[in-house]
């Protein structure tokens, strides 16, 4: 097959995946993609376990070692059919704590310690990079095997170049679909769906080759069995040590591999999916393995001497002239490699950004006392960079190792590496006494031993470790030889490293845990993780509040995004029975916020950020008791009581708010009366004075007469305007206003308002920041009234914004049928205690008459918006005064009767 055709096929296939992924993303966004998150898709996404190493390598493995290849799939089978023991708990803990990676889980369990996160991340990157290199190698290799016209396309022979383009393409794909959003627990619908499609492709490809081999090359199963026995080599004898050790190792790997953790735990949304996967995933592995031995045997029989058995899946159909089948098989291998690389780089990048880059950045910023800026964008860009970095590392590794034999063995080497996380992980799930120090100790020792006894020597003598060292041991000490530590000389190098690293790791972990004393937060998390099925909801680790909600909101917005952050605060405030965006800071609220944020940046970072703002991380003894399982029953009995008192205090809070409001309103009413008398009297006085002068007209020149008449005229206009405003307000409040509803373009309305408001304090130069595209919305409303609201907000900003370089940001966004228009200036904003009052009549923040109005503007605005079926709010914490106008895109008649706020209290209560 020609090189160009093959490249075209690959590109077409990738485009197909792109379409699938983006369609999945789109329907997930619209919330109508139930099947996307079905148990089937979940199970298929788990097949990312079967990489190119499985697809091509299993046959090679079988040709070399007989049945031993099965161990790699039998271990995971045992773990999955035994899901009730381990996976169920792991998945539940992961979901309830919004865990983003295995490093995050371990760091969260051991007191949200970032040290552990860093260790696990480094371990996973060290083990994962060569594995990625292996995938790049297999794609490059399959290309060169497949292309028949290598003479005409020199590119086809250059494996490094092919690997480079594959790596670049995968980086792009992973960034496009893996870093689209931060929230939603790191779940990636698009990626998962694409992976599921690839899972089907690779399974079908392998089965197709298998069926061809069994029924078309051989004459059926019995013939194949006969051929197997005929081809069996002495090396095929099952070796007890390796057989047991590899089953164990692959069982550990399916739990600890970062990519498996990503698809099994992080992307899980329902325990029931796991119940299905408990048999469906082993079935998938079964089907994948079923034809491996037949293909290997027939390949050995038919292929010329010296053919690479690792490529039999591809070369056998080619050899037998089945080009179509070979192409399918090529796509299967391509799928296996790409899906692994996508998920692995995504999982590793999440770890690198959450546990290394972001904490480092926060620390640097905190040290220099700088604001943390827009975290959300930062985390996303860091993650994108990390994906590029991980793939670049994989590519560099591939180039350095030069596609050597060492690379082929790297799969198992990587397994042993990630297995080092197992003791800490099991301790996290089942042992409340496991502590951070123990975990750190065990992980470090295990990682070091893996590095020394397996990873470094795996490159062969004199590549990374000098041959002399490998032969005679470190410092000439023979008991320090990498392949026979402490005198264990008879074991196979892989088992040797597995044995020492895992057993010393476990030992150090246990001893460290037994001897150290965990911090309170560790104990809280420990009780929570171990007893996950015994108590509802997450534990509290926050105590008495110190910070203001207003300080937390900007931080939350930076991470969750502005609208999601505000929505969360608003929902929490509502749950407490409060209005607006600022809930009371209760331990429960902090806990919820932390959990929400840890879905984006990991538990340790989220905890650190909140404690930086809140200023306390101390957990009291009472809180410890509250989560200890001994008191679980007491909690059970007192919970109803507590719920009732919660209810009571919520009612009390509402009453207090209402009372407060009533009192201020009564004060306002008095102020209103004196204000209105004052407002009416001032123009009246001057009108009277000047008219008296004019009655005495003799001594006046005509110019003076005109001048005085103008003053009288101006003052009466002012009077009229005041009375108009009052009337307007009264009409609006009683819902008797007749609206002039017609279609209009929002952009035109904003344009008009900006022009109109320029007359206010015309000497001030305001910078307007707006994005014209989202403003281009066709709405049906009363354009005149809406413009009135806009003008009011804009002129207020012109009057009150105290920044030296004033600017106004206008942001328009559409949420379902509602439009939200934010007006944010860069002044000092409105003080907290005044925020509740600004929409009341005659409330002017400054008592001076500089405003030139009566303080009715915002009250009118609110009534107008109510009449238009929308609302106007003050949004705190936006770096200036921020008003949010929300209104329906399509106003239906008659809203006026729906919103009748007849009394001032109703009007106030509607905010």
């Amino acid at each position: 097959m020609s090189f160009n055709l093959l490249v075209l096929t690959c590109i077409a296939y990738v485009i197909f995946l792109f379409i699938v992924a983006s369609a999945a993303e789109r329907s997930a966004q619209q919330g109508r993609a139930k099947w996307l998150r079905s148990p089937l898709v979940y199970t298929l996404s788990l097949s990312v376990y079967c990489t190119a190493w499985t697809f091509y390598g299993a046959v090679g493995y079988a040709a070399r070692s007989g049945l031993e290849f099965m161990t790699i799939y039998l271990g995971p089978t045992l773990v999955f059919v035994g899901w009730w023991v381990l996976l169920r708990k792991l998945v539940r803990i992961g979901r309830e704590n919004r865990v983003t990676s295995i490093a995050d889980l371990i760091s969260a369990r051991y007191g949200k310690s970032n040290l552990l996160g860093v260790i696990v991340t480094l371990l996973c990157v060290a083990a994962g990079t060569p594995y990625i290199a292996l995938q790049l190698q297999s794609i490059a290799l399959s290309f060169t095997v497949f292309v028949s016209d290598q003479g005409r396309a020199p590119l086809a022979a250059d494996r490094n170049l092919i690997a480079f383009w594959v790596a670049a393409g995968l980086t792009f794909f992973t960034i496009a679909f893996g870093t689209r959003n931060l929230d939603a627990n790191e779940q990636h619908h698009g990626v998962v769906t694409a992976i599921a499609v690839e899972a089907v492709v690779k399974l079908l490809a392998l089965i197709a080759v298998g069926i061809f081999v069994v029924w078309f090359v051989a004459t059926g199963p019995s013939d194949i069995l006969a051929r197997i026995d005929a081809q069996a080599l002495p090396e095929w004898t099952i070796q007890p040590g390796r057989w047991t050790g590899l089953i164990l190792l692959s069982a550990i790997a399916i739990i600890c591999l970062p990519r498996m953790f990503q698809v099994t735990v992080v992307e899980n949304i329902d325990d029931k999916h796991l119940a299905t996967a408990s048999w469906a995933f082993p079935l998938y592995l079964f089907l994948i393995s079923l034809f491996v031995l037949p293909i290997a045997v027939v390949g050995m029989e038919l292929m010329p001497e010296g053919a690479n058995p690792d490529m039999f899946v591809l070369t056998l159909p080619l050899h037998l002239g089945q080009d179509g089948l070979a192409l399918l098989s090529f796509l299967g291998g391509f799928s296996a490699a790409t899906s692994m690389v996508i998920v692995a780089s995504l999982a590793l990048a999440t770890m690198v950004s959450n546990h290394i880059v972001v904490p480092l950045w926060l620390k640097l910023r905190a040290a220099r006392n700088l604001d943390t800026g827009n975290m959300r964008l930062l985390v996303l860009s860091v993650r994108r960079l990390s994906i590029g970095l991980v793939l670049a590392l994989g590519y560099i590794y591939y180039i350095i190792s030069g596609g050597s034999e060492a690379l082929a063995a790297i799969g198992l080497v990587a397994f042993v590496g990630v297995a080092q996380a197992l003791p800490a992980l099991l301790g996290a799930l089942f042992w409340r006494g496991a502590s951070r120090n123990g975990a750190a100790l065990g992980l470090s020792i295990g990682t070091f031993l893996w590095f020394y006894a397996l990873f470094l020597p795996s490159f062969g003598p004199d590549v990374l470790l000098p041959a002399q060292l490998m032969e005679h041991g470190l410092f000439g000490q023979s008991w320090l030889r990498p392949y026979s530590l402490f005198g264990l000389t008879t074991l196979d190098p892989l088992l040797h490293a597995l044995f020492w690293s895992l057993s010393l790791n476990t030992l150090a972990f246990c001893i460290g845990s037994l001897l150290s004393f965990p911090s309170p937060i560790e104990r809280v998390q420990g009780a929570l993780f171990v007893n996950i099925f015994d108590r509802p909801g997450p534990a509290r680790s926050w105590t008495t509040p110190v910070a203001q909600a207003e300080d937390l909101l900007p931080m939350a917005q930076r991470i969750l995004g502005a609208s999601a952050g505000q929505a969360f605060f608003r929902a929490q405030a509502q749950a407490q029975g409060k209005n607006g965006f600022l809930p009371d800071i209760t331990p429960d609220f902090l806990q919820g916020l932390e959990l929400k944020m840890s879905g984006s940046v990991g538990a340790a970072t989220a905890h650190a950020m909140i404690s930086q703002t809140v200023g306390t991380t101390v957990v009291s003894v009472e809180d410890l008791m509250a989560v200890a399982s001994e008191t679980a029953q007491i909690i059970e009995y007192s919970s109803q009581l507590e719920a009732k008192s919660e209810e009571l205090s919520r009612t009390a809070r509402k009453l207090r708010d209402a009372n407060e409001k009533l009192r201020t309103l009564s004060d306002q009413k008095d102020a209103f009366l004196s204000q209105i008398s004052h407002e009416l009297r001032t123009p009246m006085t001057s009108i009277r004075a000047f008219s008296e002068i004019m009655m005495d007209a003799d001594g006046l020149s005509p110019e003076e007469q005109t001048h005085f008449a103008r003053i009288i005229h101006d003052e009466s206009i002012r009077l009229t305007r005041l009375l108009d405003d009052l009337l307007d307000l009264s009409v609006l409040e009683h819902g008797q206003v007749s609206l002039d509803i017609r279609p209009a373009n929002l952009r035109d309305l904003i344009d008009k308002s900006i022009t109109a408001s320029k007359s206010v304090q015309a000497q001030r130069d305001f910078r307007i920041l707006r994005s014209r595209d989202p403003e281009d919305v066709q709405i049906v409303t009363d354009p005149g009234r809406l413009t009135q609201v806009f003008i009011n907000i804009l002129s207020n900003a012109r009057k009150y914004c105290d920044a030296s370089d004033p600017q106004m940001k206008i942001i328009v966004r559409q949420k379902d049928t509602m439009l939200e228009i934010d007006f944010i200036d860069n002044g000092s904003g409105i003080p907290r205690d005044k925020q509740a009052l600004i929409f009341e009549k005659f409330s002017r923040l400054t008592d001076s008459l500089q405003a030139g109005g009566a303080g009715l503007g915002l009250a009118i605005c609110r009534e107008i918006m109510n009449n238009l079926g929308g609302d106007i709010d003050y949004v705190p914490g936006q770096g200036g005064a921020a008003f949010r106008v929300s209104l329906p895109v399509l106003l239906e008649r008659p809203p006026a009767t729906a919103v009748t706020s007849s009394s001032p209290i109703d009007a106030a209560g509607a905010d």
């Binding site: 773990v79 023991v85 979901r95 069995l225 099952i238 015994d534």
Partner: protein, 108 residues
């Protein structure tokens, strides 16, 4: 949530069955491992070539039986799994007993 222990001495037959099924689910991987290790115990080192075909058939049979048993068990076990709980229940009082919590009678 668990009830105090005085009510758990005698269980309804269904609950009793379910608990034993959970025990069985915990034992399954152990049984599976033992069955998968059996070939080691019938290794004949004197034979020239290993009986690969026979062992392959044996292993695949064990494998598919494990899958079938896990399938049957999962049909029953999944009934004890409640719908996914929201990670935070922002609108509910914090310590309200969770009605959706799985009715697992087990507990440690």
């Amino acid at each position: 949530m668990k009830l105090p222990s005085r009510t758990t001495q005698f269980l309804a037959r269904d609950t009793y069955r379910m608990r034993r099924l959970m025990d069985a689910a915990r034992m399954l991987p152990v049984v599976g491992l033992v069955l998968l290790l059996l070939p080691l115990m019938r290794l004949d080192s004197s034979a020239e070539n290993p009986p690969t075909a026979a062992e392959a058939v044996y292993l695949f049979l064990v494998w598919i039986s494990l899958i079938v048993i896990a399938f049957v068990m999962s049909l029953w076990l999944r009934r004890t799994l409640g719908p996914p709980r929201p990670p935070v229940a922002p609108l509910a009082p914090p310590h309200e007993p969770d009605p959706d919590a799985p009715a697992t009678p087990e507990g440690r």
